[in-house]
Symmetry: C2
Subunit: 347 residues, 2 copies
């Protein structure tokens, strides 16, 4: 009888433990508010060194989730926005989306023989980097429009999906989707577990990122904000589609980022993470002039050994004005070299 009672008890306790654990993992973030008292927790940010940056993040999250703290923020208002290129994945030596655009121009050149002599396409086809740089923004727009438009939204997604599956980073020789930053994946999950809603807010094309955002970052398409192409709704042969017109609709960069966030999210972020001057206004909009808990973070690429080292003088991901403003604005500059013990997943 003792044995049997004890067996029942053991079975019941094991079942209880299993349910407790399954509850814990399936609870919505809102349900996981701290209840006060000391909690022993597994480190949610193991790829972050125990330096000031990590301590500031953890303290910020503690304050906004503690109903007793003056910095407490209601779960629905815990909006966190992350830039994409250079903040969530590698942006050097060329934005992945630009590599995609050049690849598309080379493919399409088979039906555009005139491109052999027409700038900026000639420069793309001949790999003439100097001419490409000289073509500047207007040249860039031409390449983007030529590579990103003139087909249905569905076909564009298929083309991006195939490219992202097959493409390899020129230096690191891995798929771009493996060159995401492990510490940022941990930070996204950590914030979400604390009731934050996370968003990607990028200068890149929204339709480009959405193809892989859920698989790679666990961020579904509706939480991706980006630049966009004008589209037109059409029905042909009883089949509706969205046709991608040869016109840029919105550029979600610099002062466009607060506009894009407002248009898409409808609430001001309380945390923003960027890495370049393109994120300056998003960091401002998030942290300046509003009361309550606010946090701005800048990833500083200072790790030539494991990734790249660049800032003020870089043509891609220039970090100059935002770096100057960081101290005065209370933005946390995260050093890839010092604050991260791991850069990529499965390093």
């Amino acid at each position: 009888m003792r044995f049997r009672g004890s067996y029942v008890r053991r079975v019941a306790l094991t079942a209880l433990m299993a349910f407790l654990l399954s509850c814990a993992s399936s609870q919505t973030p809102e349900a996981r508010e701290p209840r006060g008292g000391a909690e022993v927790e597994v480190d949610p940010l193991p790829s972050w060194n125990d330096t000031g940056a990590k301590a500031k993040i953890v303290e910020f999250v503690r304050a906004v989730t503690d109903p007793e703290d003056p910095g407490f923020v209601e779960p629905g208002l815990r909006i966190a926005t992350f830039d994409h290129d250079g903040t969530l994945w590698v942006e050097q030596p060329m934005y992945a989306e630009m590599a995609f655009a050049l690849h598309r121009v080379r493919e399409l050149s088979q039906v555009h023989p005139e491109w052999r002599t027409q700038e900026p396409f000639r420069a793309v086809l001949e790999g003439d980097k100097q001419a490409l740089i000289a073509a500047g923004s207007p040249g860039l727009v031409e390449v983007i429009v030529a590579s990103h438009t003139g087909m249905s939204a569905t076909l564009f997604e298929t083309i991006v999906a195939e490219w992202i599956r097959d493409a390899r980073h020129p230096d690191l020789e891995r798929p771009y989707t493996e060159l995401v930053y492990q510490p940022q994946l941990e930070l996204l999950r950590y914030l979400e577990s604390k009731g934050f809603k996370t968003f990607i807010v990028s200068g890149g094309s929204v339709e480009f990122m959405r193809v892989f955002s859920e698989d790679v970052y666990g961020i579904p398409p509706e939480r991706v904000v980006g630049s966009s192409i004008e589209t037109r709704y059409e029905v042909q042969g009883g089949k509706p589609s969205l046709f991608r017109l040869q016109e840029i609709d919105f550029v979600n960069d610099k002062a466009g980022k607060p506009v894009g966030i407002h248009e898409h999210v409808g609430r001001q972020p309380i945390l923003a993470f960027g890495n370049s001057d393109g994120d300056f206004e998003m960091l401002q909009w998030t942290t300046l002039g509003s009361g309550g808990s606010r946090m701005g973070l800048i990833l500083h690429h200072d790790d030539a050994e494991r990734e790249y080292a660049y800032d003020r003088a870089s043509r891609i991901g220039t970090l100059d004005r935002a770096l100057d403003a960081a101290a005065g604005s209370g933005w946390v500059v995260v050093s890839m070299k010092k604050d991260w013990n791991t850069v990529f997943p499965e390093d």
Copy 2:
């Protein structure tokens, strides 16, 4: 010993039950897939009569959530879009937002004496409905721009919040936010409990609806898609703001709805609910030409006693083309009179 063993067992089973129940209520929608076998459930749609419309909705939801069913849809793809005016709340005898715009014009006329003789403002100030109708779309745009722009996004939200708190529906003499449809609130919660992501997709202004969407519909701002005004990011005196320019950015109506859904949600809905020809293209985009489970619904206002009766000949919420197409497209026409036993909350 028998008593004690049994006591432990009872305590353990009670605890298990409690945890099972707490798990069930705190689980994310995705975690609530049916496990097969018969389930006894409280009716999630008590304000819907047991007619064909309700049966079709329940069967659709059963199919898309049953992993064994050929119509199964992964939770992330269960996107449901709802029109706003006339689908989630009353739109007769005038859109609430238009009542807001006219109110604003009257208020602003104190600093715009020239409006006393300038159309369409003179017509607004004198309540000249015929002249207002004659002013048509260009007049409407003038009224919208005059009432919706020229201030910061934050100030606009405050103005809308005050108006929506104080305004009363001209016929039903209740706040607009009480004139939402109880059966639709139940449907939103039912779909969400089955892993659907719900969105409002309206021709109305996104910044207008977002002020009350979470309180009234349980739909947070980032899941509201609507028409928008051009905004510009500014910093003045160290304080950043978004200034609402005198220009309409996007009209999220008719063929704009699929474009708005694509831009904002990034995935095709599998269920769309509308009530007028303004929803025709959203219903098409949702149900035509794509494989898998799809459902289109149209609310037919045929209840002059409890709400209003109107369709083909109505100037507001015209339902003509979409009604003709319903049968051939498999769209379910929901009769307010026959299919709903309650219209408003706390009737």
